[in-house]
Symmetry: C2
Subunit: 438 residues, 2 copies
């Protein structure tokens, strides 16, 4: 058999229905399971869209073909041609009586991982054999939802007049002055991997692009080993000119609602596999102040002092009280980045917000400072050197409009949508302190 | 004036038409030009969608407002409220008689760059002040086209059943064994930046995703300093199961056609600014063999020996003969990566293809090897160590379907679409041997 004459399907498994009884079809896919009862062989063929039963009774199917089925081996790639048969005993009331059966690529046995989901494996084993892990229906469902989520996000941006931008991931200096940077050897110089497109998307406001979005990788060299952090993640970022924090919070609310509405239409099957029901949240989302957060958290017996960022314990305590999407507003200026606009009447507080889902932060945003001198002052107050921000600061000298924006963690959002507890479940090939492969 | 009470527009400049005569409108934007004739001040307001004239005759507009206009300064951010007036003398036959004028953020003078396009600047000066350079209509147009091109590409993939994937950019070893890698300090280990999602998208075929695409950054540490190379670029990648090279060449042809059709509808204004007419190419694109390329090139007096990759001189010679999109096929196996499927009857040749536009390579692809043992053999033949590809090779042991795919350089494609001669014009913040900022 020539390797370039590739066998094609006429239908995906889920397109074959009982009313097609008698029709000739062909399928390609993987051997999900084989059950050999001697006089009859059952084989489940799995493709991207589902699973269908191939039934070979000796009365109807010749011996040679039945033997091929028996010997095909779990997870081998196969081609099946046959006749559709309505059958009340088969899954989805339909099966295929094969007239032709070919093994396209035989799988080694035994498998390093069970793909039917019957035998549980440790996450590390699963991630090492991720290509097999991803064949499991429940794992697969997460990434079909992720695909549709990203589709929906982009459609929303497009319909709302946003321009997609791609900003560099190789940068000369730190975005926010943080230390959590991966150094790169860039020819004879040192460079870093971008922690966020923050400074670039702000520069695009000075360029007059008005509404921009970017969906791209961010890199954070933080040594955490938690269920909610990755060292490489996908960030959904926007920046909007002639807008304040309230304007972009509304955009964020509308986006969340839109994605959930879209998923309820396009991912019925996948949400069912995950046993997940998505309620469309009401807008506007609840807004609580940072000061109220302290009260709630303290009332639960967890210590959180004014001026501290939320610890994991504080988030958990807060999540006991708040069980949907909500904003935390009125943050102390001191714990937010230099580019956040301070409250004009009370500069100790600022126009930053976090979007939370229960105990999980999924987005951070703010109205930004658009005044050059105020920005320089804030950079200095955070013990950073304005010289390192020359190119960024230049953009504020020649006509920077007022602007606001946010970054939404794609994987955090996926945790909220799917309910999985470990962020590593929401990304194909996670990168953390210990894991750099596959 | 409070900085958070952001002034809003009622209309973009291009939404204001002569038939709105007498209507009250407000606009926000930048001062593009000011002409002060004493008794009358003309100011061009520029926003994302265009330019509109604000006309202040002393008979109709009070002195204080006229003075504010005079003093506003080029490229300051302004707010204008006023009445629409039909006027055969104004650009687009319409102007605004202002009743309110505010400077939102004053621009420093002089500007490091002229934004009207009258004074030409060197590329380095332009890139240093990219936020100003991007305000120029012809520069801006490129990125509006880029936005629509990416939109169109994604729509095409979505409509054709592709699943979007995000693969890691931090990798443990080289994709294709090449040396052109940027090293990263990943905690206590060494990592590299991905040159291509190649190995990951192939693993996704083993995962059963069947048709995937990724649009993301790739990093190449090549020391070239040409008009067609970047060290960080965006790659549009696909991989398709149960497909051979011909199948994915068809997908690529259809995609190119689709994008050009879409741009002709959605980017009329921008194409006009660039003085560019896009012809929809006929499919199938012409296919010439590598051997024919040698003949053509040699006939033009340029030396190209069998087994060599195309030099710049060879590409140029070829471009003199071929003036549209075309494929080069039947490449020698020795100059293509190890994962390319060799021709079964003549293993010296392989099922790889390059998509060219005139003298520019814009995409490379191939049918891939799906047989584990053949792949190991090819890795060894290219003097690479199969041990370094353990995770990748594992994916070929347990049911890898036949597959094919390609990578299309977003910036190269933009060069073909817009006709710009320097690839740096097609990316917001280019990265090359010398440039890491802004």
């Amino acid at each position: 058999m020539s390797m370039i004459n590739v066998k094609k399907r006429t239908h995906y498994s889920d397109e074959i229905t009982p009313d097609m009884d008698g029709k000739k079809v062909s399928l390609v896919g993987w051997v999900h399971e084989i059950r050999d009862l001697g006089g009859i062989v059952f084989l489940l063929l799995r493709d991207r869209e589902g699973i269908i039963q191939v039934t070979a009774p000796s009365k109807k199917v010749d011996k040679e073909l039945m033997d091929k089925m028996r010997k095909s081996g779990k997870e081998s790639v196969i081609f099946v041609e046959g006749t559709v048969k309505e059958s009340s005993k088969a899954p989805n009331n339909v099966e295929i009586i094969p007239t032709n059966f070919e093994i396209i690529n035989k799988s080694k046995q035994p498998l390093p991982l069970d793909t039917t989901g019957k035998v549980k494996a440790e996450l590390d084993t699963r991630l090492d054999a991720r290509f097999l892990d991803l064949r499991k229906l429940n794992v697969n469902a997460i990434f079909k939802i992720r695909n549709k989520m990203l589709n929906s996000v982009r459609k929303f941006f497009e319909e709302n007049g946003f321009i997609e931008i791609n900003t560099p991931k190789l940068v000369a200096s730190a975005t926010e002055g943080g230390t959590a940077l991966f150094p790169v050897t860039y020819f004879e110089r040192e460079a870093f991997l971008g922690q966020s497109p923050q400074l670039y998307k702000q520069m695009m406001m000075a360029a007059g692009f008005e509404k921009v979005y970017e969906i791209g990788p961010i890199f954070r060299a933080e040594e955490h080993d938690t269920l909610r952090h990755l060292n490489e993640a996908i960030s959904i970022d926007i920046e909007v000119s002639f807008a304040n924090h309230e304007d972009v919070m509304k955009i964020l609310e509308n986006l969340i609602v839109r994605v959930i509405e879209d998923l309820n239409k396009s991912c019925k099957k996948e949400l069912k596999i995950l046993n997940k029901k998505l309620e469309v949240p009401e807008t506007p989302f609840e807004r609580i102040t940072y000061d109220e957060v302290i009260e709630i958290v303290n009332s639960k017996g967890v210590v959180l002092e004014y001026g501290e960022d939320l610890s994991r314990a504080a988030e958990k305590a807060l999540g006991e009280e708040m069980d949907n999407y909500y904003f935390i507003i009125d943050w102390p200026t001191s714990i937010k980045p230099f580019y956040v606009m301070p409250n004009e009447k009370n500069p100790e507080k600022c126009y930053a917000f976090d979007l939370m889902y229960k105990d999980l932060e999924i987005s951070s945003g703010a109205m930004r400072i658009h005044d050059h001198d105020l920005l320089v002052k804030r950079i200095k107050e955070q013990d950073l050197n304005p010289e390192s921000f020359k190119y960024y600061l230049d953009a504020f000298k020649y006509g920077m409009p007022p602007h606001a924006g946010w970054g939404l963690g794609a994987e955090r959002f996926m945790m909220a949508l799917t309910g999985v507890k470990n962020i590593r479940e929401t990304i194909l090939f996670p990168r953390d302190r210990r894991r750099l492969t596959p």
